[in-house]
């Protein structure tokens, strides 16, 4: 009776088409997603750009409301439009625009080429259907598997993500699983069709600290096996420090700094990134030092301040910052930041926080001096 919509789509999987010359696996170009609400236009995503290739992991870091999740939901085409509207930019997957794609084509991409896991595993699974049925669905839809084949593959997937006794568990309901186990199920579900890109939207936020590490490790392990790219959205710099190759720091709907992991952690050039770094506790360093929070709150996305969005909270802001939108400064390695002063080496050297690396170097020198 409810057999709607599980017909195999007779389309070539985009995944099997080669990436055109000069393109990346995923390219986000100056993407703008605005929401038209009664209170005004919410500029949730305002000019996000990055590229991603197979096997890479991109960390997207930012406070709540900085547009991290909306960016990835836009890529997935899961933003309700209206109220949402793409006001500019494009998302290219294997050289093909996801923004102009028809809904039907997008359905063939979602869960198949690009899969997503969400923040709260407790509510992300349908409570009234078995795990097996929910796992099977995507495979029956995208791969045209029979019920039986899909269920057998589900058992395999559950075993792969480390769920004990999968033959039994596959028949159970979500409420019979713990939070960590459910997130494993979500990962299995996302990997069911062997996607090119796995988007993880704060996958560990709702979990115990001990479970968090397991889930992150699992995602890395799966990436090694499958070679997929990962977009890891988080507000926890610690999470991306472990697994990201590249990091994008977002603030008020815009990327304020983008670079490799080492660049963001050891050579950050944007004051907002400095603020984030200063607010990480560092148990590795013996001395206790007070954490420095970033003062104030993120601006309303309906009514962004003139000039740099971060200026009202930035301790180094000048009149220039408060009146003119900063340009993007890009270094030769592709490390970029949106700040008037970030290419001023003196300014950066004088104000950047000590990182664990500089501290260690400092300590070494001190030791060397004494010896």
């Amino acid at each position: 009776m409810f057999g709607f919509g599980l017909k195999k789509r007779n389309k070539v999987d985009l995944r099997d088409t080669p990436i055109p010359e000069g393109h990346h696996l995923l390219e986000v170009n100056d993407l703008k997603m605005y929401f038209h609400t009664q209170d005004g236009v919410v500029k949730a995503v305002n000019g996000v750009s990055y590229t991603l290739d197979r096997g890479e992991t991109l960390g997207v870091v930012g406070e709540s409301g900085s547009g991290k999740s909306v960016t990835s939901l836009t890529i997935m085409g899961l933003i309700e439009m209206p109220p949402g509207k793409v006001e500019g930019g494009d998302v290219l997957y294997r050289g093909k625009s996801l923004i102009t794609m028809s809904e039907e084509e997008m359905e063939g991409v979602r869960g198949n080429d690009i899969a997503m896991i969400f923040q709260d595993p407790m509510t992300s699974l349908n409570p009234v259907y078995t795990i097996g049925r929910q796992l099977s669905e995507g495979m029956r839809l995208h791969k045209g598997m029979s019920k039986k084949e899909a269920l057998e593959r589900s058992v395999e997937l559950l075993r792969m993500v480390g769920i004990p006794n999968p033959e039994q568990r596959v028949k159970e309901y979500p409420h019979e699983f713990s939070g960590g186990m459910r997130q494993r199920v979500m990962i299995a579900m996302a990997l069911a069709c062997d996607p090119d890109i796995l988007i993880a939207d704060e996958p560990t936020t709702a979990l115990d600290v001990t479970i968090q590490a397991q889930i992150i490790e699992l995602m890395e392990e799966m990436q090694e096996k499958n070679g997929n790219a990962i977009i890891m959205i988080t507000h926890d710099l610690g999470v991306v420090a472990d697994i990201a190759d590249k990091i994008m720091v977002m603030y008020a709907g815009q990327p304020v700094e983008f670079g490799t992991r080492d660049e963001i952690f050891y050579n950050p050039i944007h004051p907002y990134t400095w603020g984030l770094n200063r607010s990480i506790p560092e148990p590795a360093i013996d001395e206790k030092h007070p954490l420095t929070p970033i003062k104030g709150n993120p601006p309303s996305l309906v009514d962004l301040p003139e000039g740099c969005s971060f200026a009202p909270r930035c301790p180094y802001a000048t009149d220039l910052c408060r009146s003119t939108v900063p340009p993007v400064h890009t270094t030769e390695t592709g490390h970029y930041a949106k700040c008037h002063y970030c290419n001023d080496a003196e300014f950066v050297a004088a104000n950047a926080p000590e990182t664990s690396r500089t501290k260690l170097e400092g300590a070494k020198q001190k030791k060397g001096g004494e010896a």
């Binding site: 709607f4 919509g5 359905e107 349908n126 009234v128 839809l141």
Partner: protein, 345 residues
């Protein structure tokens, strides 16, 4: 599951005893002697009166049913508690007592005649309610804020605010009287069982108006519950998960949202069905429907207490059984409350 059902059946006992006891006491504190009611204006011959009292177990009798007299030659009134116990014991033999009117016809026979009409009417009404209510609610939720949604909200608000009997009368007026006169008797719907409560109700046309009336308010509620539930479910995280899997909007609604949204709707419809089986007194009275509701109404106006007592007893049992069925089906729909399953123990 079996344990759960058994537990529920055991819980029936105090509820059942409580309801019947209250009613039994009430009928006995209402003024008016039943035997004088039977007699009416006539003066009863004393021996006949004693025999009647004995027949209705109002006085103590010996094993052969002959009245027992005390030393003064007077009959002994059976105490209330003893009559209640006699009533309960009688229930186990299918004996619901006998009507004070209708020549002392057994109540069980009267109810057996009336119940099929009530059941059939309830079934027709519940089908109307389920189909129209669920469909209207679903379309409203899916096409939220559309003209359809506004229309459904308007109609359901109006129906909920309308007393059922008045709605029934309006329908009679329109379909039975107005249409009949406009079309010169060419087209109309029967507004009641012609000839009163004993008429044969075989033709399906007779069901239309009473069933619509009986279903009206509940259909409105069903549509509203369905709409709000579906909207709520569609906002859940697991719907987004299903969409992220590549399911189309339609597939998500049918495969993921519907079952979740239906859980409270099924509960409501189930309980409502229980209520309808209890006899819709207002609707049945307005339409002269020969069911238990109308019979109960008649019995109350004529102080035919054994019939009131009997029909309430049956209603209590029916409603309790329906509630149990609803609970069991709820567990079937929602695995989280599947009680006593081997895994949770």
């Amino acid at each position: 599951m079996l344990k759960f059902i058994l537990k529920r059946i055991l819980q029936f006992i105090p509820v059942f005893l409580g309801v019947t006891l209250i009613l039994f006491v009430l009928q006995n504190v209402v003024p008016g002697d039943p035997i004088q009611l039977i007699a009416g204006e006539k003066k009863l011959d004393p021996q006949t009166e004693v025999n009647l009292r004995a027949a209705y177990h109002l006085i103590e009798t010996d094993d052969n049913g002959a009245p027992i007299y005390d030393e003064n030659g007077k009959t002994i009134e059976t105490p209330l508690w003893k009559r209640y116990i006699q009533y309960i014991v009688g229930l186990f033999h299918g004996d619901l007592g006998r009507s004070y009117q209708q020549n002392g016809k057994p109540v069980a026979n009267i109810l057996a005649e009336k119940y099929p009409y009530t059941v059939r009417l309830a079934i027709v009404a519940i089908i109307i309610e389920s189909i129209i209510g669920i469909a209207a609610g679903m379309i409203s939720a899916i096409k939220r804020y559309s003209a359809w949604d506004v229309g459904v909200t308007l109609v359901t608000s109006t129906l909920v605010a309308m007393p059922a009997f008045w709605f029934g009368m309006l329908q009679q007026l329109f379909w039975g009287v107005f249409l009949k006169s406009v079309t010169d008797g060419g087209f109309y719907l029967p507004i009641s069982g012609a000839g009163g409560p004993h008429a044969e109700f075989e033709g399906w046309v007779y069901y239309i108006l009473p069933a619509l009336t009986l279903a009206a308010v509940s259909t409105a509620y069903t549509a509203r519950i369905m709409r709000s539930q579906l909207l709520e479910v569609l906002n859940q995280d697991y719907i987004r998960t299903a969409r992220a899997k590549g399911l189309s909007r339609k597939a998500v609604i049918w495969r993921h949202a519907l079952k979740n949204a239906l859980i409270p709707v099924v509960t409501y419809i189930g309980l409502d069905f229980g209520g309808m089986l209890a006899g819709a007194i207002l609707t049945e009275t307005v339409f002269n429907w020969p069911g238990v509701g109308f019979e109960t109404y008649r019995a109350i106006t004529q102080r035919d207490w054994p019939i009131v007592m009997g029909s309430v007893t049956v209603i209590v049992i029916v409603v309790m059984i329906i509630n149990l069925v609803v609970d069991v089906s709820y567990a079937f729909l929602d695995p989280r409350i599947r009680l006593g399953s081997s895994k949770s123990e």
